[in-house]
Symmetry: C2
Subunit: 191 residues, 2 copies
């Protein structure tokens, strides 16, 4: 990595820790790194990219959602789960994601950063795209199923769930994510 | 607490750590505590009780499931979620449960204990009761939604999900748990 890029990432880590996701700005990060904001934009498309790099996340929920939202609406749930479990076939990716979750569970400032990132870059985007009044709430329920899948399958590794094939997981969890996002809540799943 | 009961809990903690949930026995715990196994049974109904005490868990999935399985089958999902979120109205209970999850994500021996406990005392029981071929797999998917609810609502506290009422959570997550356990998988939720 070029030294300027290193300096930007270091400054971003410090600013996100100090101010949270919403409070940190590209401009302030550039100032802290001693570079022009244009150079930050040269290396990173946006604040979400810089955040993903700062926390070294191998999973980018904002990008997964952006990609899946381009496809057919009926495939959003399975599409998200397919990308997630395929990425998590990599054991290093598993360890990193589980480490991030553990940190968020142990430190309020980490939870706040993650929370702000998810609301700003993931929930807002899904809600806008789906055009539903309760889009952010629906997206957060869907997110709860996805976080639980990661914790139970790759973290605690509950027997049958850890041994299930990716296809089995994509079918069942994908159907639930789809229902949380777009299902008829009056009848319930399967209703 | 009487000194003998203290000694039993101390010995149980050591034995569970050393041997895991499946490997530890009431007999060996009694021996380590220097008491008769009958005294262990005097204080604790079974190994699950002793484990719940050893890890100081305010939530007992085995008891929640046993209680809900006594009621109508159609209410299992909402019943489980109702008990869970009602318990977690208590902030100390939240902190303890999140601490246990964090520990399980950071230490393989803790993950193994929790995994063995859940398979033995929760998944087996649900599978037996429901009489389905894939009952344990279904129960572990349901468990993933529940774990995710705990992490996302009480740990990361994702905005809309943290602010939702218990009734809203019970309706949506209950429907998903019900579907994971007993739904028609060929059509998917809402199908």
């Amino acid at each position: 990595m070029p030294p300027a890029r290193d300096a930007i990432v270091d400054a971003a880590q410090a600013e996100f820790l100090r101010l949270g996701y919403d409070g940190a700005s590209i401009r302030a990060i550039a100032r802290a790194a001693g570079v022009d904001p244009a150079l930050v934009h040269h290396y990173f498309d946006n604040k979400a990219d810089l955040f993903g790099e700062a926390i070294a996340s191998p999973i980018r929920p904002d990008r997964i959602v952006a990609e899946v939202l381009k496809g057919p609406r009926a495939d959003i749930g399975t599409g998200i789960v397919r990308i997630l479990v395929t990425r998590l076939d990599d054991e290093r990716a598993q360890a990193t994601v589980l480490g991030l979750l553990r940190t968020a569970l142990g430190h309020e400032f980490a939870a706040r950063m993650l929370r702000q990132f998810l609301v700003r870059e993931v929930l807002h985007r899904i809600a806008d795209e789906l055009g539903l009044d309760d889009g952010e709430l629906r997206a957060s329920f869907a997110g709860s199923q996805l976080v639980g899948l990661v914790v139970a399958r790759y973290g605690i590794r509950i027997g049958p769930l850890a041994e299930a094939s990716n296809e089995e997981v994509i079918a069942r969890v994908g159907a639930v994510v789809q229902w949380h996002l777009l299902g008829d809540l009056s009848s319930g799943p399967g209703g």
